[in-house]
């Protein structure tokens, strides 16, 4: 019993230390002979980029784990459920129609897009049987549709406004174009998620056992599931608006968390999953910025995340079905 708490606190401390270390090193790496004025600018840029990566990872790891538990489905994350595609399409439409970029309106529109796609995925998944693979299939369909629409919209944006080419990075997920003005819009969703952790992690433990069981403990599983999917949809959409589509972080982080703390207790899995998300994103981003950029150029973090995330996803699928055949 106590073992899982020991694992939890040890992992918590180790992950926080690692994050702190990467943060500090990547902030000042290679700045020895740079004039003070330029150095300040570089440090500001790096710090912004680190904070956005940290918060993006936190939100993705967090929403991934609560979505998996509330839908009782280990194969889902915001990206697979179509939130990524929907939010991106909405963000592009917003760029196309309004040009001016008010972040709060942007967040609202991205959330509407993300939630629409999410609702579509969930409804279709329920119609085709509601098994955990039904969610994946339905999500792939919805994501592909919105990704296609997003790419098409991207070309329209470029033809209308050639200066807006920076929106390209959203398509793959990257922190290259971050500005300090984007940090506040990511802090709010993170705070909401932290609060919801304290409210929902115990009901989630009951809901993983079953809806009837949760009901007789005094929870309302349908209501909680609705709130959790809406919160996840909104917060993950905001990540998409700021950093673009970063796949598989939300899927991988909770599984790594479960593996290292050797427990599926949501009170322990959710925070560790969020921090693992942060750790994965800042280390991948720094790997790309510091090491890969000198070799091939800065590969967008979304591309790297998909490259190591999707094999893991396939591994989960195989593990899920091997016992059944």
């Amino acid at each position: 019993m106590f073992r899982k708490y020991v694992c939890f606190f040890t992992s918590l401390v180790i992950i926080l230390l690692l994050i702190g270390m990467i943060y500090y090193v990547s902030l000042y790496y290679g700045l020895n002979e740079v004039p003070q004025q330029i150095m300040d600018k570089i440090v500001l840029y790096r710090e912004t980029r680190l904070i956005v990566a940290l918060l993006s990872g936190l939100i993705l790891g967090f929403t991934g784990s609560v979505l998996q538990s509330s839908l009782r489905n280990p194969l889902v994350d915001p990206y697979i459920l179509g939130i990524g595609g929907g939010a991106l399409f909405a963000t592009y439409m917003y760029h196309l129609v309004f040009k001016i970029t008010n972040l709060y309106w942007g967040a609202l529109i991205a959330s509407i897009g993300g939630l629409t796609a999410l609702a579509l995925t969930l409804v279709i998944a329920e119609t085709i049987g509601g098994s955990d693979v039904a969610y994946v299939l339905s999500g792939i369909g919805v994501s592909s549709m919105f990704s296609g629409l997003s790419i098409a919209t991207y070309y329209v944006i470029i033809s209308v406004n050639p200066a807006a080419s920076y929106v390209f990075t959203l398509l793959i997920g990257s922190f290259v174009n971050v500005t300090p003005s984007r940090i506040p819009i990511m802090i709010w969703p993170s705070l909401v998620l932290v609060i919801s952790y304290f409210i929902f992690s115990k009901p989630l433990n009951a809901m993983v056992i079953g809806d009837d069981y949760a009901k007789q403990l005094g929870y309302n599983p349908r209501f909680i599931r609705r709130i959790i999917t809406i919160l996840s949809g909104i917060t993950a959409s905001i990540v998409v608006m700021v950093s673009g589509i970063i796949g598989f972080i939300g899927l991988v982080s909770p599984h790594i968390a479960r593996l290292i703390i050797k427990s599926n207790d949501n009170r322990l899995v959710i925070p560790i999953s969020g921090l693992i998300g942060s750790l994965l994103l800042i280390s991948t981003d720094n790997f790309s910025r510091i090491i890969l950029s000198s070799l091939v150029g800065e590969i967008p973090v979304g591309a790297l995340a998909s490259s190591f995330g999707s094999p893991f996803f396939l591994f989960l699928l195989i593990r899920r079905f091997r016992g059944r055949v």
Partner: protein
């Protein structure tokens, strides 16, 4: 005030907007110290009736537990008095361990975000009583169906409820375990009101103090074991003939089904 008593007054349960009637008109009173067994064929409405008492399904009519009308009382309040143990479909990969699952049962009565010493002590006690302490670190999805049954029972008992509703507590159990579960239910019956459903009529009449016979949502028999172990009633319930013998030691009726 109706203390320590469960009263069902004209309870009716319909599904799919009236298309399926699960329970037609149930009137039952269970007092403290009584153990009520509900038997009936498949689809007779046994589980629906239990779920209605637990407040999990909608019903019309009135159900009072300790003076609280179930559908007009917040779930949180009911959860502190009552526990319901039904069938469980355990997910792979995400499952909790046995001890974690039993501890979730104490959420309505424990205050903190994490479990207290007392919560853990009570959970371990229940596991010990049911003889499954060695399963405590196994995950639910790794258990056999019989082991899972016992864990479900442990989850119902861990918060020491005054009303315990058990949906087929003897399902998937071997003969020895059935007798253990029956003994535990009888022990619980001294402190709490216990209502259970079962397909095993011998389990029912050896465990319950009163028995309800359900047929297509209707109560066709309700009373003590002597009242309900009758050829015509059992035939109506199961559409099968029984031979009723008298146990020479206890003088209790023992129904034995005919295999034609």
């Amino acid at each position: 005030m109706m203390l320590d008593k469960i009263v069902l007054d004209n309870v009716k349960i319909v599904y799919k907007k009236g298309k399926i009637i699960a329970i037609k008109n149930a009137n039952i009173v269970v007092k403290k110290g009584e153990i009520l067994g509900i038997i009936g064929s498949n689809g007779a409405g046994k589980t629906s009736l239990l779920k209605a008492i637990a407040g999990i399904v909608h019903y019309s009519g009135l159900i009072y537990i300790d003076g609280y009308e179930v559908s007009h009382t917040p779930h949180k309040v009911i959860a502190r008095i009552l526990s319901y143990a039904g069938d469980m479909d355990v997910p792979e990969i995400l499952s909790l361990t046995v001890l974690e699952a039993v501890l979730t049962s104490r959420y309505p009565v424990s205050k903190g975000f994490f479990e207290s010493e007392e919560d853990i002590k009570k959970a371990l006690e229940v596991l010990e009583t049911l003889g499954i302490l060695e399963l405590k670190d196994r995950r639910l999805d790794e258990l056999s169906s019989g082991e899972l049954r016992k864990v479900i029972l442990a989850m119902a008992l861990a918060r020491e409820p005054r009303v315990i509703l058990l949906d087929e507590p003897d399902a998937h159990l071997d003969m020895g375990s059935k007798i253990v579960v029956s003994r535990i239910i009888k022990e619980l019956g001294r402190r709490s009101i216990v209502i259970f459903t079962t397909h095993d009529i011998l389990f029912a009449i050896n465990t319950a103090s009163k028995v309800v016979l359900l047929k297509d949502g209707e109560i066709i028999g309700y009373g003590t074991v002597d009242d309900i172990v009758k050829n015509d009633l059992l035939f109506k319930t199961y559409n099968a003939r029984f031979k009723i013998l008298l146990d020479p030691d206890t003088n209790k009726p023992v129904p034995i089904p005919f295999y034609e």
